[in-house]
Each structure stands twice: as structure tokens, then as C-alpha cells.
């Protein structure tokens, strides 16, 4: 299983990436500081709309878009916003982009808009976006903030997709709406119910804990 040569190769590849600061901002959102699995942020949409892979992907994309645009604006306005009212300003910026996203999704697919429901609006109160604005974009240059937002956004999409895929396959026996399992497969209805969301996320967290444990032992 463990080929020592390829392992060395991998390490070199990652360390060469790590040496350049700009890719570092991007990479950290994917794994080391993954917003969902490590920071446990923005849980509400993660659990609520991850009942199918398609919903999860759409939600992830919408959130990533809002994150990117609000990070861009917050970072470019960081020298003009007074410190006392900064949170209110960030929230206003985020709410504006969420309204844009809401109208855009409605224009693209009414069906999707219906199945995501109020959770598009609730992107406003996704703690991930506000915390990136506060902790990163308000202190860093535009370029760095964009990379950070991209990394975090992709990490968020990845996490949502992990959950959505598992829940759809087990809960409805299909993937992106195509059923591929044999007909006598009994779908686990539990997985598309609210409780399934909690269990699936707990399962993924356990999985990552096991991996990290293995790594630290080696």
C-alpha cells in the first residue's frame, strides 16, 4: 500500500506549494482550516440543504460567490470603514450580495429556488462569511483576501458535497437524481430526515479524526 517513493514525491510537492505564500492562503481553506470539518462554522445550511447532492452543490456555489464578493468589497473598503460600525457595514455588504444571489437563482431555476427555500436568505447569517470578513479581509490586501475566499469557498463546497452525496445515496438510493442501486435496495429514510444530517456530519468528523490520529502517530 505505502509506496515510500511516491510518498517522498508527495511531500516535496506540498512543501513546494507551502513555500509560496499566496498558494498557502488558498490551500489552508481546503484542508487545514476547512470551514466545516475543522472550524465547524456555517453549520445551518450545511445540515439543512444537504439532503441531495444537487442542492448541496448549489448551496455551496451560492455561498462561495457571496463569500468571494463580500471579501473583495470589505478588503477594498477596509481603510474607509470606521472601526466602531464595521460589523454593521459588513452585514450590509453581505446582505446586498445575498439579495443579488437570490434574484439570480430565481432567474436560473425556479425549482432550485423552491427547494433551497429560505436558506438562500440565511446565507446572510452564515458565520463563515462574517468571520472571514472580520478576521481576514479587513486586515489583508485585495489579492490575498480573494485567495482566502476562494480557498474557504472551495473547502465549503467540498464539505457540503461530501455530506449531500452520502445522504442522497443512502437516503434516496440515487446520485444527482439518477438512481443506480438495484431496485430491492431499501432506502434509509432516516438519512434525508433532520436526524440523518447530524449523524452524517458526525460520521465525517469521526472519519477525519481517525485520519488525523493515524497521521500524528506516524
Amino acid at each position: 500500500m505505502n509506496n515510500p517513493i511516491s510518498d517522498v514525491h508527495k511531500k516535496d510537492f506540498f512543501s513546494s506549494l507551502k513555500n509560496s505564500p499566496s498558494t498557502d492562503e488558498f490551500i489552508k481553506g481546503l484542508w487545514k482550516e476547512n470551514p466545516v470539518f475543522v472550524q465547524v462554522m456555517g453549520m445551518c445550511p450545511v445540515l439543512a440543504v444537504s439532503n441531495t447532492a444537487e442542492n448541496a452543490l448549489a448551496m455551496g456555489l451560492a455561498t462561495a460567490f457571496v463569500l468571494l464578493m463580500s471579501n473583495l468589497l470589505v478588503s477594498s473598503l477596509r481603510n474607509f470603514i470606521p472601526k466602531q460600525v464595521r460589523i454593521a457595514c459588513y452585514v450590509l455588504i453581505i446582505a446586498t450580495f445575498v439579495t443579488i444571489t437570490d434574484y439570480a437563482i430565481q432567474a436560473i431555476s425556479v425549482e432550485l429556488h423552491k427547494s433551497l427555500g429560505a436558506f438562500i436568505y440565511l446565507i446572510v447569517v452564515n458565520c463563515l462569511i462574517l468571520s472571514r470578513a472580520e478576521a481576514f479581509a479587513s486586515k489583508n490586501t485585495i489579492g490575498k483576501s480573494m485567495l482566502d475566499a476562494l480557498g474557504m469557498g472551495v473547502g465549503f463546497i467540498f464539505a457540503l458535497f461530501c455530506l449531500g452525496a452520502v445522504r442522497e445515496v443512502l437516503g434516496s438510493g440515487s446520485f444527482f437524481g439518477f438512481s443506480f442501486l438495484p431496485n430491492d435496495f431499501q432506502a434509509w429514510i432516516l438519512m434525508i430526515l433532520p436526524a440523518g444530517g447530524f449523524f452524517t456530519l458526525a460520521g465525517w468528523l469521526l472519519f477525519f479524526n481517525v485520519i488525523n490520529e493515524r497521521r500524528s502517530e506516524v
Binding site: V40, M41, M43, C44, L47, A48, I87, A88, V91, L92, A95, T96, V98, T99, D102, Y103, A118, Y121, L122, V124, V125, N126, C127, L130, L190, L193, P194, A195, G196, G197, F198, F199, L201, A202, L205, L206, N209, V210, E213
Partner: protein, 194 residues
């Protein structure tokens, strides 16, 4: 739309469609502030208060926005109202009980980003509730949120003494408990559907 009795609205918001365990709203404080029973109770109270005020304001704002025909301002005005209410609550708590203020810490300003409150304002608008119905709906949602928070805080306090494997420690364990709690709340789903 069929009119619902106020009692039904209350039970529906607090038990059948519990905001935390059925709608996944307000998961962040649910996971974050639920380590101690006492803090959890007070947090529940604060959230309930913010919910009541912001739901009343949301009712007024919605009527105003319909009158001037500007639905695209809905989200922005709701969030501003919620943020100011939270600021108010923060000042009150700081004045009345500095100890509680320190205990709640960062989670007090974060009530602003508690999806349960914005979700409540949006749902009541969608369901076209009147003034009293909105009030009862907010009361029920707040009670449901507090109930869920207190339940999980109690469970977590008991688990402090249990020996769990290393990999399950932390968030994963809390999520597993939450899942079981959510299953339990599904038992209420038969209520009121006669």
C-alpha cells in the same frame, strides 16, 4: 390559507417543527454555548427576547415594504433590525449582570448571526401571520430553542464524567447526541395533525 389556532402555532413552533432540531436553525450557539447548563438557560432567555422584539419589528417592516412596494429591501432591513436589537440586549445585560455578560462572551454579539432569528422573521412573513400570531410564533420558537439548548447542555454535563474514545471527543460527540435528540423530537410529529 386556513387559520390556525394560537395554541397550535405555539406547539408547532416549539415542538413539532423545533427550530434547532427540525429546521437546523441556530446550530452555532447550539454547539457553542451548550457546555454548561446555567449559561445555556440564560442564552436561551436572551435569544427569546431578541426573537420577540425582532419578530414584532419584522411585522411592521413587512407592512411598510408592501405599502411602498420594495420587497428587495426586506432582507437588508430585517438584518439591521436584528443587529440593533442585539446591541440593545447587550447593553442591558452589561448593565444588569456583568458576570453573565462575561459568561456569554463572544456568543452575545453573535446572536446577530443566529439564523434562528432571521429565519423566524422570514417564516412568519411567508406564512402571512397577523400581529398576534407572529407574537405567539416567536414565543414558541424561542421556547423551542431554549428547550433544545437546555436538553443538550444537560446531556453534555452528564457526559463530562463518561470515558469516551479519543476520536469521538469534541464536536463529533455533540453531533451524535443532537442526532439522537432530533430523532426523539420526531415523535412529536403526530401532534396536531387531526
Amino acid at each position: 390559507m386556513k387559520t390556525e389556532s394560537l395554541w397550535y402555532i405555539f406547539i408547532n413552533a416549539s415542538l413539532i417543527n423545533n427550530f434547532v432540531l427540525a429546521y437546523f436553525l441556530g446550530i452555532c450557539p447550539f454547539l457553542g454555548v451548550s457546555a454548561k447548563l446555567e449559561t445555556a438557560t440564560k442564552m436561551g432567555g436572551a435569544v427569546m427576547f431578541v426573537m420577540l422584539i425582532s419578530s414584532m419589528c419584522a411585522y411592521g417592516i413587512h407592512a411598510l415594504l408592501v405599502a411602498i412596494n420594495a420587497p428587495f429591501l426586506q432582507l437588508i432591513s430585517y438584518i439591521v433590525v436584528i443587529a440593533s436589537t442585539v446591541q440593545l440586549v447587550e447593553m442591558i445585560i452589561k448593565k444588569i449582570s456583568p458576570a453573565l455578560f462575561r459568561a456569554l462572551g463572544i456568543f452575545l454579539p453573535l446572536i446577530t448571526t443566529n439564523c434562528a432569528i432571521l429565519g423566524l422573521a422570514l417564516f412568519q412573513t411567508n406564512k402571512e401571520y397577523g400581529f398576534f400570531e407572529s407574537f405567539i410564533y416567536a414565543l414558541g420558537a424561542g421556547a423551542g430553542f431554549t428547550l433544545a439548548l437546555v436538553l443538550i447542555a444537560g446531556l453534555r454535563e452528564q457526559l463530562e464524567f463518561a470515558e469516551v474514545p479519543n476520536i469521538v471527543k469534541g464536536t463529533a460527540l455533540t453531533l451524535l447526541i443532537a442526532g439522537i435528540l432530533s430523532l426523539t423530537f420526531m415523535g412529536f410529529s403526530g401532534l396536531g395533525s387531526n
